[in-house]
């Protein structure tokens, strides 16, 4: 559960994309506060700005205006290189399409994240426990094309948390999975949150998946319209 400290603070966040000669607003004054150790679900229709919010919190793109603080870092003031460094240790991503490097084994996909973060190739003992929790310890020497969707997503989760990030951002993590695997992945995310206090933000279209979070934020037209 949350420990009362805001790990993400978003105020008056705006993001405008330039498409040709047209400005397209993706976020229009988003206000959000997420406590450390919170599991927050974000729901909303396509084009509501969920992914853009994730990309900004994850440091993949800068905000156009507004204030975004992630684990004490002011993203609006950060350079591209600073945001790159932020992605190494502070945030971990889990994507709908798993996004594993297809030429590397599961083990090497995880090792890449540690290498980029400047850490030893060998994960911590704590991480070995997580691998057991994820149920993928025996599948680490396989390449993604030899793994099921559920296994690939578990590897992606392992990669996302191998550097013990402050925040785990999961963008529709069950979008490409069947019901059984979806349930397994959601329970893993909940386990990580409950056992290890991992802050989790999860985008989903599925109300059942959203129910795994402590709170649910509803977005529409680039704004947060409800938090329940």
């Amino acid at each position: 559960m949350s420990d009362g400290r805001a790990i993400i603070e978003v105020q008056q966040l705006e993001k405008i994309y330039r498409v040709g000669k047209v400005d397209v607003p993706a976020l229009r004054g988003v206000e959000l506060s997420v406590q450390a150790g919170e599991f927050l679900s974000i729901v909303g229709p396509s084009g509501s700005g969920k992914s853009t919010l994730f990309h900004i919190i994850g440091g993949l793109t800068p905000p156009t205006s507004g204030r975004v603080r992630v684990d004490g870092n002011d993203l609006a003031a950060m350079s591209d290189a600073d945001r790159t460094r932020l992605r190494r240790r502070t945030v971990g991503f889990v994507f709908q399409k798993f996004n594993l490097l297809p030429n590397l084994t599961a083990r090497d996909n995880i090792a890449v994240a540690r290498h980029i973060a400047g850490l030893d190739r060998k994960p911590t003992p704590q991480f070995e426990e997580i691998l057991q929790l994820l149920g993928i310890a025996s599948r680490l020497d396989h390449k993604p094309n030899a793994l099921s969707g559920g296994e690939q997503q578990r590897i992606a989760i392992a990669r996302a948390i191998v550097n013990h990030p402050a925040i785990l951002l999961a963008d529709e993590p069950t979008g490409n999975l069947d019901t059984e695997n979806s349930k397994a992945v959601l329970e893993i995310l909940r386990d990580l949150n409950e056992r290890m206090g991992q802050t989790v933000l999860m985008i989903t279209h599925n109300p059942e998946a959203a129910a795994y979070g402590h709170h649910t934020v509803h977005m529409r037209d680039g704004r947060i319209i409800e938090k329940s």
Binding site: A81, T84, F93, N99, P102, L104, D108, I116, R121
Partner: protein, 366 residues
């Protein structure tokens, strides 16, 4: 870790990797074969000249180098003059006529030749019996598929093969001196006079004495032949030609790697996005591209070296008399450096392009 990513990338598209190796290897082969050819021809010329047993050679006043071809301008009268110089044991006059490049025919007096060189080692047949008899060495006989008794067309007229020898002494083709002098309208003239001394240790002393007596005639010791031959090759612009081929090698290496890596970057857009989402810096992405380009260069160099062996085999099999190719090991690192320079230059644009990818667009790439 970067090395592992790069190796797995190369293994993932083996046909692309192999084609890149092959294309990068072509200029390496070209360079190594050209250098090997020049070294092989040089060594062969030197070996054949040394095979005469001579210690000194005298050329006509118009000769540029020790073994360059040209009109025969030395009078046969020099033979008698030179034979009576101190320490000279035997003399041999030779006339040279170019046939199909780079081959020449030597007109020789077999008695002089045998006295100086110790004689030819006949594999079949024997010496000249008539004015239009010709002795071939086994390389030329193999190349032309000729045997003793066969007719052969040389210098626009028919000849008769009277003997096939082991080779290694003077030209691949020997004909009677008088016949070639007549055909070249050079009766009484010679291209080269070879001198054999009583002791090779007297070479410099005899050469110095001859230089004084014949100041207008180039005189070389056989010991100086290697540098003379190298100079002769250089004078013919060979180094310039090799430099041009090296330049072409850099350009081809650049173009192949640039194209190959640019295609790879396009194909791996999503993977670049993944690495960026994990916090991979621009430098990290560029390093992957650069290292892969270098590995393509190294693979291309290895392929090029292997193909240079194949090229040598093909050349010496098809034209054993005309061309000799050596494997010149010290040119391997030079060829590798040329390729790696080309590959590094070729990786610049794809590397920068990959490093600049927007991570969100890259992750959305299908």
């Amino acid at each position: 870790m970067i090395a592992k990513i790069v190796l797995e990338n190369l293994k993932h598209k083996p046909m692309r990797s192999l084609l890149s190796f092959l294309l990068i290897g072509v200029p390496v082969t070209l360079i190594l074969t050209l250098v090997g050819l020049s070294h092989g021809m040089l060594a062969d010329s030197e070996r054949r000249t040394r095979g005469t047993g001579a210690d000194i050679l005298v050329r006509g006043s118009n000769a540029r180098t020790a073994l360059s071809t040209g009109p025969a301008t030395l009078s046969e009268k020099f033979l008698d003059f030179l034979a009576h110089q101190p320490h000279v044991q035997s003399v041999m006059g030779v006339i040279t006529h170019s046939i199909e490049l780079p081959l020449v025919v030597n007109g020789v007096d077999l008695d002089q030749f045998n006295r100086m060189s110790g004689g030819l080692q006949y594999l079949s047949g024997g010496g000249f019996q008539g004015p239009y008899d010709v002795i071939l060495d086994r390389y030329y006989a193999d190349q032309k598929k000729k045997h003793v008794g066969d007719p052969i067309e040389l210098m626009n007229r028919p000849w008769h093969v009277c003997g096939i020898v082991d080779g290694g002494k003077l030209a691949h083709v020997l004909v009677p001196l008088k016949t070639l002098q007549m055909l070249d309208s050079a009766t009484g003239k010679l291209s080269v006079i070879y001198l054999k001394l009583d002791n090779p240790a007297n070479t410099e002393m005899v050469k110095a004495a001859l230089d004084q007596q014949l100041p207008d005639y180039p005189i070389w010791s056989i010991a100086d032949l290697t540098s003379q031959l190298q100079e002769g090759l250089n004078n013919q612009g060979l180094n310039d030609f090799i430099a041009v081929v090296m330049g072409i090698g850099v350009v081809i290496g650049f173009a192949v790697v640039c194209l190959s890596m640019y295609m790879a970057v396009l194909q791996r857009t999503r993977e670049i996005g993944i690495l960026k989402s994990l916090g991979g810096s621009k430098l990290f992405i560029a390093q992957i591209i650069w290292l892969e380009a270098l590995l393509l260069g190294v693979g291309g160099t290895v392929f090029g070296i292997l193909m240079s062996y194949a090229a040598r085999w093909a050349i010496v099999t098809l034209k054993p008399a005309s061309f000799q190719v050596e494997i010149v090991y010290y040119w391997w690192p030079i060829a590798a450096a040329i390729t790696l320079i080309g590959a590094s230059l070729g990786a610049l644009y794809p590397g920068l392009s990959a490093a600049r990818h927007d991570p969100i667009e890259a992750l959305a790439y299908e």
